[in-house]
Symmetry: C2
Subunit: 478 residues, 2 copies
C-alpha cells in the first residue's frame, strides 16, 4: 500500500494522500468535480441520516426543487446575483435547440424556491413554512480539493419563512445550534459559532451565522452556515401574506446548509499520520475483525471465534442502531496489510484474534483514536463494545477540543497577530468594525474574520488601533 505523507511534512499532500488511500474520492475528468467512492459515500449516508432526523424533529419537511434556475430569477435579487452569477454553470441548449432563456445550474436554491413560496404563502396561516432539500449544487471553482472545495458538491439547504424578524432570528439560531450539536454528537467536531462580518456574509442575507472548526494545520474551516435573510428576497419575489389584521406583510426568511465539506472537515480535524480517524457514529465500518492464522486448523478456530463475536454484536445496539462490524477474511493479504488498510480508512476499533489469543480465550482490541491495545476475554468482548465506542466518539471530540483550545490565542497588536498567525490557530482580537481594516488584514496576511463573537468596546482594533467595537476570531482559512 502506498505511504501517506506526514502531516508535519506537507499537510496538503497528507490530505490528498489520505483521500486517495482511504478510498474516499477520486478525481473525475470533469474539472473540479470528484467521484465519491463507496467508503466516502457511506460516511455521507450516515451523516445525512443523523442530520436528517434532527431536521425533521424541528418540524421541517423535505422537498425537491428543480436544479435549473431561469436567468431572470437569479437576476431578481441584486446582492444575490452579484455574489453567485459569476460562479454559475449555464445551460444554453436543451433538446437540440438553443434556449430562449438560459438556465443556471443551482448554486443555491433561494431564487427558484422563493418564486414558488410566493404562491404557497398567502396568509399567516401558511406560516411558518419550513422546508429542506438534499441536493447537488454547482459553483464554478478555480482551485479545488476533494470535499473541501469542489465545483459540484452535495448538501442540504433548509429554507423557512416567518411572520416576524424575531421568529426568523430564532430559526437561524435554532439551525446553528442544531449544527453545533450534530457536529459534536455525530462528527466529534468542536466548533466555534457566531456571526460573519458584513463582508463575509451570504449574498443577500441580513446576517450570517456559522460554525467554524480548526484543522490540524491551524487553519479555520467553515463547516456550516445559517442566514437570516431578512425581507430582501420577499421583496424581490413578492412573498406577501395577510396577517391577523388582514394587512399585507412581507415574510422574514432564513436559509441554512451544510455540505460534503463536512467530510473534508472530519479529515482535517481528526486525521493523523496514519490517515483517517472516523467518529464511530459515521464510520461505514465501526469495528473490523482481523483474523490471524497460518494453518487451516488455526483458521477454523479463529474464524469460529469471530463468528461468535459477530453473533453477539448483532444482538446489541449502540445509539439505537445496529453496530457495523465486519470480518476481513481475505486470504491474499497479510494481517499487517489489513491493519494498515483499516487504520488509513479510519475504522474506529479493530479486533485482532490469532491462534494464541484463541488458546487464551481472548482477543486484542485496538483503538484507532489512541492506538491503545487491550486484551479482552472472548466472553467479555461483546459487552465491552458499546462503552468503548462511546469512549472513542468522545475521545476524538476531546482531543480536537484540546487542540482547538491550545491553538486559540488572544492578541492585542498587529505585530503579535502576524507572529502568532504563522503558528496557525484562532486569534481573538478587537476590531473597529470597518471593512477597510478587515480588507487590509486579509491583503497583508491572508487571514479573515471567521467569527464576530460579540459586541465589545473593550480594547483596540488589532489593525488600526482605534477603539474596538467587536471581539473577533481571525484565522487563515480553507
Amino acid at each position: 500500500m502506498a505511504k501517506i505523507t506526514k502531516q508535519s511534512e506537507d499537510f496538503s499532500k497528507w490530505y490528498l494522500d489520505t483521500v486517495k488511500i482511504a478510498e474516499l474520492a477520486d478525481y473525475s475528468k470533469v474539472k473540479g468535480c470528484m467521484v465519491i467512492k463507496p467508503w466516502g459515500y457511506a460516511i455521507w449516508e450516515h451523516l445525512q441520516r443523523g442530520l436528517d432526523k434532527k431536521i425533521k424533529a424541528a418540524g421541517v419537511k423535505n422537498v425537491y426543487f428543480p436544479m435549473f434556475i431561469p436567468e431572470s430569477f437569479i437576476n431578481r435579487e441584486k446582492e444575490h446575483v452579484e455574489g453567485f452569477a459569476p460562479e454559475c454553470a449555464i445551460v444554453t441548449h436543451g433538446g437540440g435547440k438553443k434556449l430562449a432563456e438560459p438556465l443556471y445550474v443551482r448554486p443555491t436554491s433561494e431564487t427558484i424556491m422563493y418564486d414558488t413560496f410566493s404562491e404557497w404563502i398567502q396568509s399567516y396561516r401558511d406560516l411558518p413554512l419550513k422546508i429542506n432539500q438534499w441536493a447537488n449544487i454547482v459553483r464554478w471553482e478555480m482551485r479545488t480539493r476533494p470535499f473541501l472545495r469542489t465545483t459540484e458538491f452535495l448538501w442540504q439547504e433548509g429554507h423557512t419563512a416567518h411572520e416576524t424578524k424575531e421568529e426568523a432570528d430564532a430559526e437561524a439560531n435554532r439551525a446553528l445550534k442544531m449544527y453545533k450539536d450534530f457536529d459534536r454528537e455525530f462528527l466529534a467536531l468542536p466548533v466555534l459559532t457566531g456571526k460573519k462580518s458584513e463582508k463575509e456574509k451570504f449574498a443577500g442575507a441580513l446576517y450570517t451565522l456559522c460554525t467554524e472548526a480548526l484543522a490540524r494545520d491551524g487553519k479555520a474551516i467553515q463547516a456550516g452556515t445559517s442566514h437570516n435573510l431578512g425581507q430582501g428576497f420577499a421583496e424581490s419575489f413578492g412573498i406577501n401574506f395577510l396577517d391577523k389584521n388582514n394587512e399585507s406583510q412581507k415574510v422574514w426568511q432564513t436559509s441554512w446548509g451544510v455540505s460534503t465539506r463536512l467530510i473534508g472537515t472530519i479529515i482535517v480535524v481528526h486525521g493523523d499520520d496514519n490517515g483517517l480517524r472516523l467518529p464511530p457514529r459515521v464510520a461505514p465500518v465501526q469495528i473490523m475483525g482481523v483474523p490471524i492464522y497460518r494453518s487451516d486448523d488455526d483458521k477454523a478456530n479463529v474464524m469460529g471465534a469471530f463468528e461468535k463475536i459477530k453473533e453477539g454484536i448483532s444482538k446489541i445496539k449502540w445509539n439505537d442502531e445496529e453496530i457495523r462490524f465486519e470480518i476481513d477474511d481475505r486470504d491474499e493479504m497479510s494481517p499487517g496489510y489489513k491493519f494498515n488498510e483499516w487504520e488509513s480508512k479510519g475504522v474506529p476499533l479493530r479486533i485482532e484474534l490469532g491462534p494464541k489469543d484463541f488458546e487464551n480465550g481472548s482477543c486484542v482490541l485496538v483503538r484507532r483514536d489512541t492506538g491503545e491495545k487491550q486484551n479482552v476475554k472472548l466472553s467479555d468482548v461483546v459487552e465491552a463494545i458499546p462503552d468503548i465506542m462511546t469512549d472513542i466518539q468522545t475521545g476524538l471530540y476531546d482531543q480536537a477540543k484540546k487542540f482547538q483550545e491550545e491553538n486559540t490565542s488572544d492578541v492585542t497588536d498587529y505585530q503579535e497577530f502576524k507572529q502568532k498567525l504563522e503558528e496557525g490557530g484562532f486569534l481573538r482580537s478587537g476590531w473597529c468594525g470597518s471593512e477597510k481594516c478587515e480588507q487590509k488584514i486579509q491583503e497583508e496576511t491572508k487571514a479573515t474574520i471567521r467569527i464576530v463573537e460579540s459586541k465589545s468596546d473593550d480594547g483596540e482594533c488589532v489593525y488600526c488601533a482605534e477603539k474596538s467595537q467587536h471581539k473577533v476570531i481571525l484565522a487563515k482559512a480553507y
Copy 2:
C-alpha cells in the same frame, strides 16, 4: 377543497387533479420540471429507503459521480449518443467563460462512470464491481406530466461489471427480480416482467429487461429497467481486465434503474375517484386520527383517548418500523373536511373518534383501500393495527392484480387486436419478430410491444400473419 375529476370522465384530468389535491407536486417555472412537495417527497423517501436496503443486501455499494459529462464521453458509444444526445441539456458556460468543451447534464451515467471504471478495473480480482447512485437526471421532454415524464427526475442507477456474459445475465435478472419483489412488497404493484424488443431497448444495450404495470385507464407503464450492456461500453471506454490466465479481456456490464416515475405508477395503478390510495409501506402517514367534538369536555375526552392510542402505537412495530400515526387536531377544519383531505392524500387507515364512541369505549376504523368501516374497542385497537395494515398492503396488490388479469387478453388477428385495444389493457399475441411489423402496429394504433414474453413459434404474427417467433405483450403506454 377542490373536487377531483372522475377517472371515468377524464383520466388525464383525474391524474393532474390528484397530484395537485394530494399535494404531491407543483409545476415549476422551469419548463417540464416539477417541484416535489413534502407529501410527494416523503413517499419517495420511504420508497428509497426500502429499495436501498435491497440494493445494499445484494452487495452493491452506493457512490456519487459528477452530473456533468464531457461531450467527448457521450460521443464515444455510437448507439448511446444517438439515443441520448438529442434530449440532453448542455452547459456551454461556466465561471463566466465559454467552456472549451461543452458539458452534458447526465441523461444517465454510463459514459461518465465507465471512463472511471477503466481505471478501477485492472484484474479479475476487481470484479465483479457493483455500484449504485441516487441522483437527479435530465432528459429534455416535449410533453411532460408530473412524476410520469419530467425533464428532471430523481432515480437510482445501478452499474456493474463482470468477467463473463453469464454473470452479467444473472445480475440483470437479479435486478429485475429485485424490482419485481420491491414493487409487490412496498408499492403493492403487480408487474409483468420480460425483455424489450430491439426497437425499445436501451441505447447501447445488448438487451433490456423491464417491469410493466397496468394503469387503471388500461395503459401500460414501464416501472423499471435492467440492461445487459454486453461489451459495447467496455470496448468504447477500454474497460479491460487481466483474467486468471493473465490474458486481457473486456468486461461484461449491466445497468438498472427506477425513478420518481414509480410515484406516478402508484397513482395510476391504485388511485380512485377520491384521489390517492397509498400502500402503507410507503405512506408518509399510515394512520390518521380524526377527533370529533364540539364541546371542550368532549374534546378533552376524545383527545385523551387518542393520546392513549398514540402511546400504544408508539410501542409496536410493523415490518420492523415504527408506525407513522398522526392526529389531525386542527380546530379550524370540520371532521368531514379532514376525512376528504386524508382520503385524497391516500392515508391507508383512518381512526374516527367522537363523544359517542368515547362513551362506548370504542372508535371507528376506516380503510382507504376498501372504504370499509369497523367499530373497534379502544382496548383492542392498537393490537388490531398491524394485521389491518398488512391486509391493506396485500389488499391493494390483490385489487391491482385482479384488474391486470381481467385486462389481459389473448388476440390472434389484427382486427380483434384493434378492437380490444380500444378497451385498453395488455394484449398478448404472436409476433414474427420483424421491426417493420412492430413499427406499423405503432403507427396505426399507437400500441407498442411492452414485453417480449417468450420465444414461441406457435401461431401467427398479429400484424402480418406470418409464422410467429415470439409471444409479446402489446399495449398503449405512458
